[in-house]
């Protein structure tokens, strides 16, 4: 499915009654099966953007165009599993239509087979994230939203999970929006990387990456990284007025 986003303005009113802009003139579109990655500093408004996209927040001016019946799979920053349901029940509750073969495939890729009957309270954060990923993929989403799925995991674990996400995304080309503050993750997972400014968030630049995900060389990643850092530093210099 295609996603077209034109948010003219999204603001919050704080307790003192002052309005703060979170998103201003925020426009982008994603084609079917594209993986868009948003990279930006914490607190820039990424999570607010995601809430608007999935329909949890309607209080903004502008429009989001996506099929009304689009199935959404989402991985929140925290796993948000039901503590009183087992791993498998958590996935099945969100995805009642998923057949056993698909669940088996997901549990195998995400290395969750040994944990099917565990309760979330018995899982580490890394495992709980995997369950959240399994749940998001199990609904066979038209739109996949990943909100910092690799945050607060150690490097080895994050690297493995990143590869698993790449495998799953490629196995069934699904329009995906990933939010991260790691430039590395962005370059390894994205088809297009959007750089965001600090709040109120604007898109500073867009970096397309045409090499397939599994063929990206270290050299290429380093080169793109340098470009991206150049843009970010340029914006920072402009804002502080050097």
């Amino acid at each position: 499915m295609q996603l077209e986003v034109n948010i003219a303005r999204k603001a919050f009113t704080n307790a003192a009654g002052e309005r703060h802009d979170v998103l201003v003139d925020f426009n982008f579109a994603l084609g079917a099966g594209e993986v868009g990655v948003f990279v930006g500093p914490s607190g820039c408004g990424k999570s607010t953007l995601l809430k608007i996209l999935v329909g949890l927040d309607h209080d903004y001016s502008g429009r989001v165009v996506r099929p009304a019946d689009a199935r959404i799979g989402m991985v929140f920053q925290e796993p948000r599993l039901l503590p009183w349901r087992s791993v498998e029940e958590n996935v099945r509750l969100a995805a009642p239509q998923a057949d056993d073969a698909r669940l088996s495939m997901l549990f195998a890729v995400l290395e969750l087979n040994a944990h099917r009957n565990h309760f979330p309270g018995e899982l580490s954060l890394g495992l709980a994230r995997r369950v959240a990923l399994a749940r998001a993929f199990a609904v066979e989403p038209d739109l996949l939203i990943l909100d910092e799925p690799l945050a607060s995991l150690d490097d080895t674990l994050a690297g493995r999970l990143r590869d698993e996400i790449a495998t799953l995304v490629d196995s069934r080309s699904v329009t995906t929006l990933l939010v991260t503050h790691s430039i590395d993750d962005a370059i390894r997972l994205g088809d297009r990387v959007f750089l965001l400014s600090p709040r109120p968030a604007r898109i500073l630049a867009e970096q397309p990456i045409r090499t397939p995900r599994n063929a990206r060389s270290q050299a290429e990643i380093a080169a793109i990284r340098a470009d991206i850092e150049h843009v970010i530093n340029g914006d920072r210099a402009k804002r502080i007025g050097i």
């Binding site: 989402m74 948000r80 039901l82 503590p83 009183w84 969100a94 309760f119 309270g121 749940r135």
Partner: protein, 245 residues
């Protein structure tokens, strides 16, 4: 083992106290046992216990159902809370006796009046507890359910209800102990059967063995229901919680 020992100490204390006080005021255990057997043989014990239990069951179910629904509504909808709060404070502080007497005056000495009066006494505590539980609901799980388009009834059953369960269990637990106490007063004042009525008759006749016979069997039934129904239910509700090491 400890429970048996503690029960034995209770019996012994009672027996010794009976010796000092004399059988007139405090009959010894055998006299009370004889009264229990006599009441059981005539069948009156079971009929009265059954009638009282039926009233408890009806009033309890009514109060819990209504209380949970109202509490959930007041926890979710601010307007409902504003409208309901003064009523809640009124009911919470209204003495049980007043409710029972008014119910009998307005609805006559009927079964409906008795059960309604008991239910009204229990209702506000259930409302308050469930309201607190509703306010403590995890909004992030609500968002999850909405994003994944889990149908509302299913979300209520699997996302909301398990979060409310400890509150509902607490309301049930405290509510049940309240209902046990109030049902006897209601029966004493306006019914012609049930444990409360029998205790009232025993009081008027100064028939202390009969009074104790009904009181003790009633307490035994309450204990049995607590251990056989309430405690296993609570254990089942919390089986997913990881136990602290």
């Amino acid at each position: 083992m400890l429970r048996v020992l503690s029960f034995a100490v209770f019996l012994a204390t009672w027996w010794i106290a009976a010796l000092f006080a004399g059988g007139e005021k405090l009959p010894a255990p055998p006299a009370v046992l004889a009264a229990i057997v006599a009441a059981a043989e005539s069948g009156a014990l079971f009929i009265n216990l059954g009638v009282t239990l039926a009233r408890v069951a009806l009033a309890f179910t009514l109060a819990m159902t209504l209380g949970t629904a109202i509490g959930y509504l007041m926890g979710r909808v601010r307007l409902a809370n504003r409208l309901g709060d003064p009523w809640l404070i009124l009911l919470l502080n209204l003495p049980a006796l007043v409710v029972i007497v008014l119910a009998y005056i307005w609805a006559g000495l009927t079964e409906v009046a008795a059960i309604a009066a008991i239910a009204i006494n229990k209702l506000p505590t259930a409302v308050v507890t469930v309201r607190e539980g509703t306010r403590a609901l995890d909004a992030s799980l609500d968002e999850m359910a909405r994003v994944f388009a889990i149908p509302p009834w299913k979300a209520f059953r699997h996302v909301i209800l398990p979060q409310l369960a400890p509150y509902i269990a607490a309301a049930a637990r405290s509510g049940l102990s309240l209902v046990w106490k109030i049902v006897l007063v209601a029966e004493l004042l306006g019914r012609s059967n049930g444990v409360g009525f029998e205790i009232g008759v025993a009081f008027q006749l100064f028939d202390i063995p009969r009074l104790l016979a009904y009181s003790l069997t009633f307490v035994a039934v309450v204990l049995a229901i607590e251990t056989a129904l309430v405690q296993p239910f609570e254990a089942r509700l919390s089986r997913w919680r990881p136990r602290a090491a």
